[in-house]
Assembly symmetry: C2
Homo-oligomer: 403 residues x 2
């Protein structure tokens, strides 16, 4: 397996496009994306657990019931959520794709991201379809930039791998930034693959994968209304179709995970206003559930996040977060260390403070990728959570998002 270029266009038979159609006033910001597979693909997805759901979620769920899809259309700027005509508008977006490309609207995945509760005007989308289709090509980056909201960097990843002697690729694009919290498919992630795999096994793979990847990210503790992870796998690699557990399925899952894990880090690092990626590794847990609870609580703690922003080795806040996480841990066995490319430093042993060089700690915490490593000394289970620091810019971005 190796990382390759191409994002959602790395897999055979996938093209992408991203344009400015006019949903956003700013003409330099793309706002409409399309991903198309030459052939109908097995499709699987996971969605937000928020009771308030964007209309596109409902429509996509319906369209993916048969496990097949061929295209993804997504706009940014308006979430199409809490609108009385939301379903109608989401259906219209799928219809535009049907009319333009001759594929059934039932094979279209639709997604929206942006402000909640403002009506979506689909005229710009309708009028933009010609340009959107004209630009279909090896344009994963354009599609990615069109689904971005407050994201500051493109997030695309792809890997090549082999299944049954056939070379395959899986790639993806993601948008993240704000309203991102564990325990659901958090954010928009579109993954494409050319392996041949049944819809059931594809769903099994993605459902398992997100538990340790996208569900372990938190930017701000707010679970979005519109988020989904969708994967299309069109079989054009020509491998024998994966229909059951086994070596091929394991290879497929490993490749998928190589993509999703990296996208996770990119999403967390580019959290709204973030200046740093924070990765919390919990080891030595009695069980995985406890490890996850502890790791997530640390990543979600505003106080810990603010301390990381200030490069302040305030490990007491880490202990505090573990203590209220709901994890069943023996607090008198907890060791904590901070790590970055500048080195590693132990700051807490057996739940108590130990002497350490504040200078060295500062040096470590000034880097832009920080690991908070927690050893619970109670077993051999582990978990990793991904987050970012809490900064002035988070407040600024969200103090007046709508204007």
């Amino acid at each position: 397996m190796e990382y390759i270029d191409g994002g959602v266009c790395a897999a055979k038979g996938f093209k992408a496009s991203g344009i400015h159609c006019g949903i956003r006033k700013n003409k330099t910001k793309k706002d409409l994306a399309l991903i198309l597979s030459e052939a109908p693909a097995s499709a699987a997805a996971t969605y937000t657990t928020n009771l308030v759901k964007g209309a596109p979620i409902e429509v996509t769920k319906e369209h993916l019931k048969n496990g097949t899809a061929q295209a993804v259309i997504c706009n940014s700027g308006i979430a199409n959520t809490c609108n009385s005509d939301g379903i109608e508008k989401a259906n219209m977006m799928c219809k535009f794709v049907e009319e333009s490309l001759g594929i059934s609207e039932n094979d279209v995945v639709v997604a929206s991201t942006g402000v909640i509760g403002q009506p979506l005007d689909v005229e710009p989308i309708k009028n933009g379809m010609d340009e959107l289709i004209k630009n279909l090509g090896d344009n994963s980056r354009d599609a990615c930039s069109a689904i971005m909201t407050t994201d500051t960097v493109i997030k695309e990843v792809a890997v090549s791998f082999e299944v049954g002697g056939k070379k395959c690729a899986v790639g993806g694009i993601a948008k993240g930034s704000g309203m991102i919290h564990p325990n659901m498919a958090t954010m928009l992630v579109f993954l494409t693959c050319d392996a041949s795999i049944s819809p059931e096994m594809l769903q099994k793979a993605v459902s398992a994968d997100i538990k340790d990847t996208f569900n372990m990210i938190s930017i701000d503790g707010d679970t979005s209304t519109n988020d989904m992870v969708v994967v299309l796998s069109n079989g054009m690699a020509g491998n024998e179709t994966i229909t059951a557990d086994g070596e091929d399925f394991e290879k497929f899952k490993a490749a998928l995970n190589a993509v999703t894990k990296r996208l996770c880090r990119m999403i967390a690092k580019d959290g709204e206003g973030a200046s740093k990626l924070i990765v919390c590794n919990v080891t030595g847990a009695a069980d995985t559930e406890n490890a996850k609870k502890a790791a997530k609580a640390v990543i979600c703690s505003n106080l810990t996040k603010a301390a990381m922003f200030g490069s302040d080795a305030n490990w007491g806040r880490v202990l505090c977060a573990i203590g209220y996480s709901g994890a069943d841990v023996d607090v008198n066995k907890i060791d904590v260390s901070f790590k970055s490319e500048a080195g590693s430093i132990d700051v807490c042993k057996d739940g108590m403070g130990i002497g350490f060089s504040e200078e060295k700690a500062k040096e470590i915490l000034l880097k832009d990728e920080i690991e908070i490593n927690i050893e619970l000394n109670s077993g051999d289970k582990t978990a990793t959570a991904f987050g970012c620091d809490l900064t002035y810019d988070y407040v600024k971005i969200n103090g007046d998002y709508r204007t």
Copy 2:
């Protein structure tokens, strides 16, 4: 019942004192408080639910087992948490009170607040005892200022009321600001009362009270390690002792609630970095638990808090928070309005956006006390939660708290 001056000294027989003893380097900031009752008092308390607990919590729990106490000693600056000699130091603080005042160390409540994991030097406390005791008097404000950390205003409240024909008073001081989150006794609150009431009924009153008061506050979602609410009631009002439910107990609870509710608002409004008090009222819920979940989620949402900071009527974030709150609600029945002294404005009806004047909304949200009113249209149960906005200053204060 009426609000009166005096804080923890409003009730008969209570004196208080607050000094700078030297735990803090800044000599203008008081760091040691004492509250003393002339007579032994019925005592009850609730504590943080964090598994990581400050040593003073353990010692106080032990001392209150018999339901009696006569004094409270509390330092700020150092939390005395995650220290290997924490229990020993907390015991020493009680011993100092015993030696200075001739009351048993078992009748002393001890509390600490400040940085976690740094050793507490008790020498300054020992050396400060003479001055602390010399200053005992009608000095509720001094005691309050000595327990403050990042608080910016004094929080003291008292009311007078009548039980069994006897005039009584109940008053309290509180410190809040950061690491404050629902579902526990959040922050330090010391309440004094001169009514005669059994320890059992006192505990019953305080345990019931905090469910709708201190457990409904969130500043930052972080549950502290050191927090407690303690109430001492010394019986000096001369009423017939309250030993069971009934009219007297109801009067007592009402007076207690008049104090705690107001302290809640003060704590929330003075949250770290806060520029606004946010009160979320949920009405029309099918049951109280759902109402509480929804109200708390809104108050805790970083995105909603940041929007309030920006006076941005981004009600979609309110809906979003209700949607992930875990409350069992019909999202298509939710109405939302914003209210302040500048008026009230409806922004969402039946879960959908409605047209409203952005100008009027801005005017309302620019005030420093905002109500977010949510009608679920599904029953007659209600809940109120107290919080504040998320500001640049929160990040600033917590980016480098320890220096």
